[in-house]
């Protein structure tokens, strides 16, 4: 406790580094955390840790030609004797150094008992004179620093020793890790055999580290890229945690004051230092990414301070890392996944601690909305749990389905695609059908559009009659094409129609008009549509004048005197002549523009009389085009394409090819995503764009056999290039088949469809007499 308080007062500094002359192999700090020793093949120096940098204090590598004893694989600073250091030399020597020696050469003792590189030296944590070494030669030796030779030798009977570590709590115990994957526990009093042994890793175990507090915990790291934490306190050694790192683990060091944290570095590929929380073995808690080459030595600066980490590297630098400067991979990680599904559903994954909020809140969040007022918004919100820890993280994945009928969903798309009729019936019927479909699917806007299209583009039944000004009186003629209006107003209202879905009224108007006309009533009808912008609820007020018996057309305001001329020149009605540039003769236009502001009314008049049947459809084209573009812009290419197909030549030339192609492509793409292959095929067939039509022909291959020699036909024609006979002879009538040729894929014989069908009624065998039981699919 006393120590800790002192620590927080004394250890301070920042992230800093210094260049070394040579790559470092190992580093070690003295007990009071003020100095660090760096050892390597060509370096052996002591640096002072100042507030703002490293200061070289001592170069232990002395002499003109330093002996191999200076070539260090490992170094350790004695934790009790602050002048005492030990190094493991690559030549097999174990050397101790006494900084208190007055001469330049600080070498104190030299043990040359190991035959090969010594990988590790370790002072006993409490016994001042005890030193342990582990070597490539497979032996561990225990030295008493007061004696010239080792006091005991431990033979692992395994392969090379990679690490030896005295237990911090058990006076007599040390752990050794081996290149063959084993870890052994020894009692220093019993050099004859190990106390326990277990296989910790596949491949070499490069390092091990006892937990500073939990006496039974040993962390091991291996070439198999794993760090494992073992509980040694039980009879059977138990693996309690396993962390998978990205590269082989060269060093492992428990983090002071943090029970579950440990730092690792790798021996190749990866230059970073990772700090893991063993409870969360997948993602590092923190990383230090400063080194440019392999990190060879890591050590926590003070045994009670978790914020300072020192590291040496092959890149010849010595770093002090501050924990606050570490990068946190979790910060970069996306805690949420989100995906808009095909059907308007949403997959949303988020941290569990956030998702599973207090139960009641979560439940409310889920249940109230979907069932509640539709006006209320969707919202997926879970209250965060502030007690969440780094270690305990999991995610919940929810799929939110769009509610039926909402625009987020795509049900409408599928239903519409399947129900629309695009061909095979007269135009008006197609429109009517599609209008009904849209209506049924609760899409009034589209429904009205179809209805309007029908009205606008339907061909009059008998054009010759249309110039007959007695038309309206004859009563039983189909009179459809009869919408007259002020151009601007109509455009305006049409757009309102497109945008505001108030079409039921509109539709009624037209239906009404049409019914009337077909019923044979006198048909002069005039409709006044309320200005939509002025009245939201009742956009169109309609006045229906059924009184006028004469063909003469009268407006309530007597505003259109010119229209009387229609009676005088029935073959060339005025408004028609003016269209489409200016739909009104000047006088009436003036009048109507006057009227609109005055009465707050726009005018649409419907009268069969005013139009010749030939021109109006053309007149609508720009508007329809704009409407289609509008739909497309809203993402409803379905509508755009369907209308395009149904209208066919009526509109096709108005819209440039590429736009059409784009619409088609988009629509076909969507259809295929929804696996609506039939609809997609129909659309492709009905399209008028070359690029679209050829979609059906690509990637279709027919493999055919000659019906005579039964070998595959290679050339394009119907003459087999092997037997030189025409392959497409009908097996029934023996004539060459022109047109539909059907053949059995088993025996290659076939013929005219009707002949083969006829034949198959009598016999199941091939009509060619080859004896094959033909199957036609």
């Amino acid at each position: 406790m006393e120590k800790m308080t002192r620590v927080s007062g004394t250890v301070s500094g920042c992230t800093m580094f210094c260049h070394l002359d040579a790559p470092a192999n190992a580093i070690s700090v003295c007990r009071d955390a003020t100095q660090v020793v760096v050892a390597g093949r060509n370096i052996f120096k002591i640096y002072g840790l100042e507030e703002d940098g490293f200061v070289e204090r001592l170069n232990l590598r002395v002499g003109r030609k330093p002996s191999l004893n200076f070539s260090c694989a490992d170094v350790m600073w004695h934790q009790m004797e602050e002048n005492l250091l030990a190094t493991a030399a690559t030549n097999g020597a174990v050397v101790t150094w006494n900084l208190a020696r007055p001469c330049r050469n600080k070498q104190e003792q030299l043990f040359t008992e190991h035959k090969r590189t010594v990988n590790k030296v370790c002072f006993h944590p409490t016994e001042v004179n005890m030193l342990l070494s582990g070597s490539q030669d497979g032996f561990m030796k225990c030295f008493d620093l007061r004696k010239k030779e080792s006091v005991s030798t431990f033979s692992g009977q395994s392969e090379s020793v990679r690490d030896v570590q005295f237990s911090i709590k058990d006076y007599f115990t040390f752990a050794a890790s081996f290149e063959n994957g084993n870890v052994q526990l020894w009692d220093i009093r019993r050099p004859d055999r190990y106390e326990r042994m277990f296989t910790a890793h596949t491949g070499p175990v490069f390092c091990c580290d006892w937990h500073p507090e939990d006496r039974g915990w040993l962390a091991t790291g291996g070439r198999d890229k794993m760090v494992k934490v073992w509980d040694m306190s039980t009879n059977r050694v138990k693996e309690i945690y396993c962390v998978q790192t990205i590269a082989s683990v060269a060093r492992v060091k428990w983090r002071p004051e943090r029970r579950y944290h440990l730092a690792t570095c790798s021996m190749m590929v990866d230059h970073n230092i990772y700090v893991w929380d063993v409870r969360r073995p997948f993602i590092p808690f923190a990383t230090f990414e400063e080194h440019k080459d392999v990190t060879t030595g890591i050590v926590w600066r003070h045994q009670h301070d978790p914020y300072f980490l020192l590291s040496g590297s092959k890149d010849s630098t010595l770093y002090q890392h501050m924990f606050k400067d570490a990068s946190r991979p979790v910060d970069r990680a996306n805690p949420e996944g989100l995906c808009f599904g095909l059907f308007g559903d949403l997959a949303f994954a988020a941290k569990e601690s956030l998702m599973s909020a207090p139960q009641s809140v979560g439940d409310v969040g889920r249940k109230t909305y979907p069932g509640g007022d539709r006006r209320y918004p969707i919202f997926f919100f879970k209250k965060p749990d502030v007690t969440e820890q780094f270690a305990q993280v999991s995610s919940a994945l929810s799929v939110f389905e769009s509610e039926a009928g909402s625009s987020v969903g795509m049900d409408w798309f599928i239903n519409t695609a399947q129900s629309y009729l695009l061909s095979g019936k007269p135009f008006a019927e197609l429109c009517e059908h599609n209008a009904q479909v849209a209506k049924r699917l609760n899409r009034p806007q589209e429904s009205t559009t179809w209805t309007m299209l029908r009205i606008m583009f339907s061909e009059p039944a008998n054009p010759s009659l249309s110039s007959n000004h007695n038309l309206n009186k004859s009563g039983n003629l189909p009179l459809v094409n009869s919408v007259a209006f002020d151009h601007k107003t109509f455009t305006f209202t049409l757009f309102l129609a497109a945008r505001k879905s108030l079409q039921t009224v509109y539709e009624d108007v037209f239906l009404c008009a049409e019914n009337e006309e077909t019923e044979g009533s006198e048909g002069q009808a005039e409709y006044l549509f309320g200005d939509a912008e002025l009245d939201d609820d009742d956009l169109y007020s309609m006045e229906h004048d059924n009184q006028a018996e004469e063909p003469e057309y009268l407006l309530p305001q007597e505003a259109f005197p010119l229209r009387h001329e229609i009676m005088d020149h029935p073959s060339a009605p005025e408004p028609v002549q003016e269209k489409p540039e200016s739909p009104h003769v000047s006088g009436s236009e003036a009048e109507s523009t006057c009227l609109t502001p005055m009465e707050s009314f726009s005018l649409i008049s419907v009268s069969q009389l005013l139009f010749s049947p030939h021109l109006p459809p053309k007149f609508f084209c720009p508007i329809v085009k704009e409407m289609l573009c509008y739909y497309a812009e809203q993402g409803d290419v379905q509508m755009a394409v369907s209308v395009l197909i149904v209208l066919g030549d009526r509109i096709r030339k108005e819209i440039d090819e590429l736009t059409q192609e784009h619409w088609y492509m988009s629509y076909i793409d969507l259809l295929q995503r929804f696996e609506l292959w039939n609809v997609s095929n129909e659309v492709i067939k009905l399209s008028t764009c070359g690029a679209i039509m050829c979609l059906n022909q690509t990637s279709t291959t027919l493999h055919i056999n000659c019906s005579n020699c039964k070998r595959p036909m290679s050339n394009k024609g119907w003459i087999c290039d092997r037997c030189h006979q025409c392959a497409s002879v009908c097996a029934v009538c023996h004539h060459v088949v022109k047109g539909l040729f059907v053949w059995c894929q088993g025996c290659s014989h076939g013929g005219h469809l009707e002949h083969v069908m006829e034949w198959l009624k009598q016999s199941k065998h091939c009509p060619a007499g080859c004896g094959h039981l033909c199957e036609y699919t």
Partner: protein, 329 residues
Amino acid sequence: NSIVWSCVFQVSVINTVDTSHEDMIHDAQMDYYGTRLATCSSDRSVKIFDVKNGGQILVADLRGHEGPVWQVAWAHPMYGNILASCSYDRKVIIWKEENGTWDKMYEYTGHDSSVNSVCWGPYDFGLFLACGSSDGAISVLTCSGDGHWDIKKINNAHTIGCNAVSWAPAVVPGSLIEQPTGQKPNYIKRFVSGGCDNLVKLWKEEDGQWKEDQKLEAHSDWVRDVGWAPSIGLPTSTIASCSRDGRVFIWTCDDPAGNTWTAKLLHKFNDAVWHVSWSITGKILAVSGGDNKVTLWKESVDGQWACISDVNKGQGAVTSITDSQQNEQ
């Protein structure tokens, strides 16, 4: 009298998928037909679920990454069932299903740091993939058909790292207006990326080389996700970007040459925004933020983006989450 534009959307939870992932899930992606869901997690695994008819059956558990898997992406089904995943282990793995079993088809190890994002390009151009990495580079991998992959790497695309990539749809914006009729527009491969330099960048391929086309500046913190909207019936290009600064921008370009991009702030959230995702028609944008909520947005008639889902007033203020790592330290 409801008006189409204010039509209210409703979404409900159909199921909570039990992924049995052992750590955080970082991404969930539905396939082209909407029948399968791929998830990836810190636990190094990628899982594939069959979600047909509201069910959720685990069909594959892909192991191969050695670090957290950040993102997954489905390729277009015309190339088979192919899934790409990218990970903290600096690898991109392309998985392929053959005869019901998933196997590694290709493993790309060309990045020096965590690979954060993968995205398949429009199928019209072939089978190719963009990968954005924390090493600041973006790689474009193109399958040459014989199992070989061509690599093109854009080094230093974003300093400190690239967080997200997203391809432009196959349609060239403006081609519908500009091109003379009958001439097939010359498709240009383009994608957008977002990075730790707070920038959104547009890239295009010219003569087989990738070039920076545009640099869009608006965010004041890391850009976490970018999404190029599907272009359905629209000649304009739209990109959504979101950032740790809590802002979501909608970038649009009406200019056929693709040079003028205008930013419109969709919303400023109180917390970091992690994801943006477009609906398949490109008209609705789903946004998920650090405060763990998903909101849906739609452009209204006047060109403003409106939230078609709104905060539940009953639930009180949104508490922002800060990872308890500060305390952990």
